[in-house]
Symmetry: C2
Subunit: 175 residues, 2 copies
Amino acid sequence: MATYTLIAEPLTRDGFAPFGDVIEAAGARHFSINAGAMERFHDLARVDVSGAEGRAAISIARCTEPTVPPVRVSLIERHPLGSQAFMPLSDAPFLIVVAPPGEAIAPSELKAFVSNGAQGINYHRGVWHVPLMAMQTGQEFIVVDRTGPDANCDERELGATDQILVKLCKGPDLN
Amino acid sequence: MATYTLIAEPLTRDGFAPFGDVIEAAGARHFSINAGAMERFHDLARVDVSGAEGRAAISIARCTEPTVPPVRVSLIERHPLGSQAFMPLSDAPFLIVVAPPGEAIAPSELKAFVSNGAQGINYHRGVWHVPLMAMQTGQEFIVVDRTGPDANCDERELGATDQILVKLCKGPDLN
């Protein structure tokens, strides 16, 4: 069994571009609205829904079992019919692990990121991702994704032949 | 000129139901996801987009000129092609003024609400609303609304013959 260790890198628009959008005001196109009362940082994420009777919905996700890195990940999922956005409501970092769309998932293609707690993300349709890893109980996120009658989640086991570890910085491996 | 004074009432799902959705975990349907790691408060707001080439987008709005109540409102708008959601990222209250869909806007039909700072709102398509009134500079909101080539904002002047005042509680009128 081979071990792959991913060091979570700070989330940036450029680094995350192959997988989706980073939702943050910094560095975004903006303009004045409401007669000058508000500044709008516009279209930071494209909400993408397809399939019969699919529509976008807004939900809240709250962490009940926090992830403490270093962590071993063993499951990855994708949503073939739509994008999925998570925007933190709590100012606390969270971990992201992604792989490009496609049928085969090579451990060498996995990438890990850490949000600074003000940054949200929007997975593009079909991008593989490990279920969101919040690091504090009660941490909340706004979720914008597709709801509808069609099946919209494919899951794959990782780690049958390989062990995938995610760490926040270089250091001793998980025991 | 008649004066109408609106007292902003605390935002509740029932009170706001004729105008849209309240986005908050409290009192919402929820279930466990991510193998028990997260609780999902599901489908708190329906994102509604129509018109050729329309799609939902996620943006951020930041307050640059705060509203200090009591405030006189003179403009109201509606989006005929889609819903519009605002979710506070800053834990600070904000003011909401709405009127039911329709061509005529009677001052007596206007209603004012105040969010507790954890509650977001989603205006349903065609609901008249005064542009969002944040009360602190730098206050931020996630916006989920429609983007596309078609015109999607109707504006009406209020107060040509009437004066509309919004207050947080009963007390002396605006001078």
